[in-house]
Structure formats: structure tokens, C-alpha cells
Symmetry: C2
Subunit: 300 residues, 2 copies
């Protein structure tokens, strides 16, 4: 079972738009030191779809080259097309990753479960490697392509040793609870930080979230102590996470997260984003950084 606290790691680019591989690898290493069980690189927060196939491979290799073990990596390897998704997924499997997080193809809307099943099936059969573990990725507010429970059921029946979990970023705890009940042994991972504690209490497997770029320590505290620890300490940790998460939504979330990471890591390359996203304005950045000071700047 894939379980734990995973960081939806952000991806640094320079003002020249080029990926900063070393800075990325250092960030991954630091996230593990701060408490993450693993790095879910190249998700929505990681701007995966704003990078080319070759850049995505280079980012994964950079993390590995900097001492992150393959089995600490949970990369997003989907594209809208089957051949490049097979290429990226095979590359990740060859690098010994823990699993691959697979978005549905997100160009066409209103596609049938038959069509989505076909996509995942074509990718899994195309990779043709028993080491592949697939984490489905449900984020309908972005993709506009939801993953139904009937589709998951069908995939689990067809590929019981391969399809092992789901990242649910829709933010509805009831949807996660329903999957936990219907699919025993299936890893349900929350995409929203405020839901980590309630999800664990409901039998969930952990989280893949953006705020972990800033407060992995608190997320790990919840993970380590939610069952046997001091309930007050755990509640406090969840509260702290929620405060940081609220700040990430002060402006457009991704630029805000990166602006906060820039302050945290002391490197302004983190301020940049690939189009169609844009960095915060100077005033917005000043405001976010001032609020970080009030929150204690990410110190435990």
C-alpha cells in the first residue's frame, strides 16, 4: 500500500524560463528531511503540464541524482496522449519509483468511462511492467474530467496488482470515505491539507499536498501521532497546516506557494512560473512574506 505524507513539490524555473534542476533536487532532499515520506513531483502544483517530456524526465533524474531514492518518488507521468504517457511512465518505472500518479487525458470533456478505461488500460498495457503501480488522480475542478467509482472498480478488477490508489483533490471527504469503504486495500490520498487528519481517522492512506512545500513537519506530526499521540498536539498541527494553507490561497495558489517557498528557501528563482501562470506582483509578494513572518516563517 502506498501511504504517508507526500509533497506535491513545486518546480523551480529561472527568469529565463529554464528548469533549475539542482535547486529542485535540493528542495526534494529538504522536504524528506523535513518529514515527507516521499515526493509527488510533477503534479498540478509542480506544473507538470507546463514542461516537455524531456524536461519531466530530467527533473525526475535530478531528484534521484541528489540522493532521493527511487522508491521515495511518486511522479505525475500523464499527458493527454497515450504514447507520451507510456514513455514517461516507463521512464519512471525504470527509475524505480514507488508509483506513478496518472491524470486522465483532459482535453476532451464529457468522455465516457469506456474511454477513460481505455486510456488507462492502453497505458498500463503499453508500459507492460509488473513494477508499475498506478495512483489515479481525481481533480475535476481542474481537469473537468472526473473519475467515477465505477471506473475505479473496473480498473481494479482489470489490473488488481497495478492500480493501487488515488489522489483525490476534489476536497470532498465523503467521496474519499466512499472509496475507502468500497475498495479495501486501495490507498486514498487527500489532495487537500485540511483533510489529512479526518481522512486518516476514516481509514485513508495519507496525503499529497501543496502546503507540504512549507510545513512538511506539521503534516508528519499528524501522521506520526494521530492514533497514539496527544490529541491536542495533533489538532494543533492540523490547525497550523490549515493556517499556512489559507495563506497559500491569498492570491492565485500556485504563484503564492512558490512565493512562499522562495522566502523559505532563500532563493528567488522560486518566484517564477511557466506560462500560463504568472508570478505575484511585488506588492502581493510583500504582503505574503509579511504574513509568513506573522505565522512564524515556517519554523516548527
Amino acid at each position: 500500500m502506498i501511504q504517508g505524507v507526500f509533497s506535491a513539490a513545486t518546480t523551480p524555473v529561472g527568469t529565463d524560463g529554464q528548469v533549475r534542476l539542482e535547486l529542485f533536487a535540493e528542495h526534494c532532499r529538504a522536504l524528506l528531511d523535513e518529514g515527507c515520506h516521499g515526493i509527488a513531483l510533477l503534479g498540478t502544483t509542480g506544473e507538470a503540464n507546463s514542461y516537455s517530456v524531456s524536461e519531466r524526465k530530467a527533473l525526475l533524474e535530478a531528484a534521484k541524482g541528489f540522493g532521493v531514492a527511487g522508491n521515495q518518488l511518486l511522479p505525475g507521468t500523464s499527458t493527454c496522449n497515450v504514447p507520451e504517457t507510456i514513455e514517461l511512465t516507463s521512464h519512471a518505472v525504470d527509475n524505480g519509483v514507488l508509483g506513478c500518479v496518472l491524470l486522465p487525458p483532459f482535453y476532451y470533456k464529457g468522455v465516457s468511462d469506456d474511454g477513460l478505461f481505455r486510456f488507462y488500460s492502453d497505458v498500463i498495457k503499453g508500459v507492460a511492467d509488473s513494477r508499475l503501480k498506478v495512483v489515479l488522480y481525481h481533480i475535476p475542478q481542474v481537469t473537468q474530467v472526473p473519475l467515477s467509482h465505477d471506473l475505479i472498480d473496473r480498473l481494479l478488477n482489470a489490473f488488481p496488482d497495478t492500480v493501487v490508489g488515488i489522489k483525490d483533490s476534489a476536497g470532498d471527504i465523503e467521496n474519499m470515505k466512499a472509496m475507502i469503504q468500497r475498495f479495501p486495500g486501495f490507498s486514498v490520498l487527500a489532495g487537500a491539507d485540511p483533510l489529512l487528519l479526518p481522512l486518516l481517522q476514516a481509514g485513508g492512506a495519507g496525503c499529497i499536498t501543496a502546503t507540504s512545500n512549507l510545513r512538511a513537519d506539521s503534516l508528519r506530526q499528524i501522521w506520526d501521532h494521530w492514533q497514539s499521540g496527544d490529541a491536542e498536539v495533533v489538532a494543533k498541527a492540523q490547525e497550523r497546516i490549515n493556517d499556512w494553507r489559507t495563506l497559500t490561497n491569498a492570491y492565485v495558489q500556485l504563484p503564492t506557494v512558490k512565493t512562499m517557498v522562495a522566502r523559505r528557501r532563500g532563493n528567488n528563482d522560486w518566484l517564477n512560473l511557466r506560462a500560463p501562470l504568472v508570478p505575484l506582483s511585488d506588492a502581493e509578494r510583500g504582503n505574503v512574506w509579511a504574513q509568513m513572518t506573522q505565522l512564524g516563517e515556517g519554523q516548527a
Copy 2:
């Protein structure tokens, strides 16, 4: 000015999921013979986003290799990321295409005009070739990322020799008329067949549509005769187009169009689609083919 009747050509794949390059090239050649001024390959109807970068290049080269002139081609060359969009667009420009049809990046939703401007600007500056002519692609019902008139205004001011037109597939003639009035010399091309005649009457530049895969002859009749010809003949041609278009919506549109092309060209490789789309069922196919017979099977 880019103007005329362009076919949103479909793309054939075998039951093995592999692109049928020769069959595609033959289809392009036939579409020109049937009356199209050019081929807008690799759009939504062409399932562009279901193909890899290398497959998209191979399809364009196949059309050229089969006697279609570069300046008869209007390929879709966008992806969600800047570097691969530059790569595909540069490749198309190097092949002498008439223009490139550029979707906005469509993963993130609610992105700002600043962000979209940045995407187009990064691509145009990255291609850095005065031969590049950009046709914007507005299809918000699929991308969920509309292109505002203010964004177009900004792009026209920044790149007056490069941004030359728009394919508007939203189906709202008022939106097209407003662009014709606001942006003199800008080519407004309808993405919906029933709008060709009213758009031409309003000063529009032509169309890029799916039904041209089946009835290019009638679209060309409208184009050739709408000003000086017999009004009744033109109205009849538009009516015929509309009937065929209605049939393409009998089931999910893309599989239906391809099913109709299969009958028209006498080759069942046309029945296949890449995931997440799925072919029609046997019963659906039988029904569509029966209705084609009633419509006269695409004969002029």
C-alpha cells in the same frame, strides 16, 4: 489574410492504435480535390492532443509528401507547454505552412489574460521566425479557457505581423461579428458549419469545420457563390451542409464523423480513435451509414 474553406481533417489510426500516414495523406489530397482551400490538420476533430509530438510532425510531413503544398496546411501546433509548442510550431513553419492554429494551454482553469498573453508571447518569441502566422483557437466548451477580445487586442498590438486570425468554435455568431468589427483585417474563421454563410455575409474569412471531411463540395459552393451566385443555390448548399452536420451529432461527434469518413472513403481504419474517445458500436455505425444513404452518401 488567411481565408477560405479549410477542413478540420480527421486523423486515421489502425486497430493497433498506430497512425495511418498514407491514408491520412490521401484524405488530405482528396479534400483539396473536393473543394477545400486548405487542410487544418491536427485540430480538435483531428485528435491532435491524442498524438505525440513526433506523431504530429510525421502527419504534417506525410501530407506534404503526398503533394499537398505547405501553404495549403494550417496545422494545430499547441500543447499545454511552451517548449513543445515552440518545437511543433517551428517544425510547421520550416515546412512552409500557411499558418499555425494555436490553442491556449488548457490544463489550468481561470488563468488570467496576462498568463495567456505570456504563453502566446513566449511561443512567438521562441519560434522567432517572421514566416510564422498565428491563428488563435477559441473553443471554450472544450478547453474551458476562453480567449477574450482584450487579449486578442493585446496580441495584435504586440505581434501585428504574426497574429492574423482566429478560429472561433464557440458557435456564437455575435462573438464573431464583434471581432470582425473591432479588428479590421483579422481573419475570423467559423468552427461551426451552419455559420459559414452568415459569417461571410458579416465580413468573416471562412471556416475550419468537421463536416468538410464529408461535404467540402457544398462548403466550397457557398464560398464561390455567396456574393454573386444564385442565392437559392447557396442556401441549398448551406442546408445540405447543415443536414450532414446534424448527422455527425447523432452520437458522440468525433467517432460519428470518422464513421462517416470510413463509409465515404471505403476504408474501415477510419472507424478507430485514440483513447479517451471510443468508436461507435456496430448498431450505431449501421444507423449512421443508413442515414448517409438517405442523404445521398456524400455525392454532390
